[in-house]
């Protein structure tokens, strides 16, 4: 391997450690430019026949689109529920977090901002709170502090709601989470657990690859000590987490690999009943489908099964247990999941919010659509005009839904 010559040379550099460090940096940089770029991670794992496939992920409108030019009348919720635009002009609205004083924080993935939306007497104001961040997809709020997960670190902003026009300095909770500048799934979801620890994903660095010990996991860090632990393994990429209100167990969504077929494998929902469960990636998908390549010589029996199969390529993102009092009583502790896809199948489905019912023992008992209407042409390119990303249960019991495709946040409410 010719490329290794570069790193060999760095060991022969001058003895002074500072210079050695510079030499390593220089050779690393030269090395980084030598090999040809790999295929984009979403294409990785395609078969020779699939190389001509026209399936592709969809890019958001990064300037946002006005709700007045969108077919809002197509949106459908169950009888008694109402959906309306809660805020617009929030480009690439991704994850949602609720402050103690009612501020709604909104993150970006391709863009570099965190927004704060405040209600000034019924008039909502969108403030650009933090800028210039690296893939700040993960946000969580707890006890006056906003936490932000960028691709490489987690930071905290104490007393943020008192300083929405001049955000306080970031304090680092944990750094160096992305030492290899990993390709693939480098954005993070962030959630505060009932144990006071911050939970987040480190995705797989490609569609179907052997992850390193740190990747394809769910991890947690104690913001007080900075101590990092892995809690779940074999998780290709989780971009939605919440804790069951009664059992306090962690549940999370997971995106399975692409390019097996239109109908396999399913994306999945998981329940963590003990630390260090292994959900199979890259060896086994959906609990019962050995990977055509990595599954050879392995068995799905080695791994923990998902709590539910959610549908192939449907791209489950944000998920929340409903803890409010506005919706009818049977909705309490129901799980809502935002489906951001699908793109990797010839007939599209999803682009909705599903309601999943769970019994007292943690068993999934049913699943049906709750919000539909974004998908308008299942063979179209694009097939949809909006994409749900994350959900948030507000203090009054209404539910917010973010849509990164348009930069819009919707509100779903219920009235008898």
């Amino acid at each position: 391997m010719a490329n290794c010559a570069g790193s060999d040379q760095s060991h022969k550099g001058p003895a002074r450690p500072g210079w050695a460090f510079v030499a390593v940096l220089l050779t690393a940089q030269a090395w980084a430019q030598t090999p040809p770029a790999a295929a984009p991670s979403w294409q990785q794992g395609r078969s020779a026949e699939q190389a001509k496939s026209t399936l592709h992920p969809f890019a958001p409108h990064l300037t946002g689109r006005a709700s007045s030019e969108l077919p809002l009348d197509k949106l459908k919720v169950p009888a008694g529920f109402k959906i309306e635009v809660w805020a617009e002009g929030v480009p690439e609205a991704r994850s949602l977090a609720l402050g103690d004083k009612g501020t709604v924080f909104v993150s970006n993935r391709n863009l570099t901002n965190v927004y704060a939306i405040v209600d000034n007497g019924g008039k909502r104001e969108v403030k650009k709170l933090l800028t210039g961040m690296k893939t700040p997809n993960g946000i969580a709020f707890s006890k006056g502090t906003l936490y932000v997960a960028e691709r490489h670190r987690i930071t905290r902003y104490d007393g943020i709601e008192n300083n929405l026009d001049a955000a306080p300095e970031a304090k680092v909770v944990i750094d160096n989470l992305d030492p290899s500048q990993q390709p693939g799934h480098f954005w993070k979801y962030l959630a505060m657990g009932p144990d006071g620890k911050l939970y987040f994903n480190v995705g797989a660095p490609g569609n179907i690859v052997l992850p390193n010990y740190n990747q394809a996991t769910v991890q947690r860090v104690d913001p007080n000590t900075g101590i990092l632990e892995t809690v779940a393994h074999g998780v290709r990429n989780s971009v939605g987490m919440d804790w069951h209100p009664a059992t306090k167990q962690l549940w999370f969504t997971n995106h399975a690999r692409d390019w097996i077929s239109d109908d396999l494998p399913n994306d999945t929902l998981h329940r963590l009943s003990r630390k260090n469960m292994h959900f199979g990636y890259p060896f086994c998908h959906q609990g019962d489908l050995p990977d055509p390549e990595y599954g050879k010589g392995r068995s799905c029996k080695e791994f923990d099964a998902p709590a539910a199969k959610l549908g192939p390529h449907i791209a489950p993102l944000g998920m929340r247990f409903y803890t409010g009092r506005m919706f009818p009583a049977e909705y309490r502790n129901s799980l809502f999941i935002a489906m951001h896809g699908s793109w990797n199948r010839s007939t599209k489905h999803g682009y909705n919010v599903m309601r999943v019912t769970v019994d007292g023992t943690g068993k999934v008992t049913g699943m049906k659509p709750f919000l539909e209407g974004f998908l308008t042409d299942d063979k179209g390119d694009p097939p949809m005009w909006g994409r749900p990303v994350d959900l948030l249960v507000m203090r009054d019991g209404a539910m917010l839904v973010s849509d990164d495709y348009n930069g819009i946040i919707y509100r779903i409410s219920y009235k008898k």
Partner: protein
Amino acid sequence: MTFTVVVPRAVAAPLAAALLAAASPFSARAADIAAGEQKAQACAACHGASGNSANPAVPSLAGQPAQFIATQLVMFREGQRKDAQMSPMAAGLTNTDLNNIAAYFAAQKLSPPKHSTTAANAEAGPRLTQQYNCTQCHGPGLLGQQHIPRLAGQQMEYLRTQLRGFKASTRFDMDGQMTSAAQALTEADIAVLADYLSGLK
């Protein structure tokens, strides 16, 4: 090791105010082509009248997909795609401005440059666009779609510079798609493709 890092806030106050205004709820408006035309006056010096460039190094914007124009302008404004001329041009524009400018250029008719592709390249071009999967994303007529640009009738020198930049991994690329696609291109392929695409109506 724990240390404190200052994360930069919105840089200039007037810019922040402008962005905030654009981001206010219920103020987002459907794209306004007339307002876009007004704002696009500043683009004409380089990109030509109605976005039809006469400069081989500067791209035509007429007939490009609106989402492509808006996306690139955001990336210039946010500093993710960098260019000595374009970065400052985009710096003061709001999202509403970008949507209007994008709608204006998308609605203009492209007058392709007076470019005659050599006979050899006219024959080799379609083969290369198949071989390198250009048509998979840019469409069968290479007219672009969504956030993906139209290549047919684009200025040759501009196309060549972009392809070289993707191959060298120096051109901004949101999803890595073009950087990856350009790796297999030889300098000779780039010359053929630029000549072919520029002459394509």
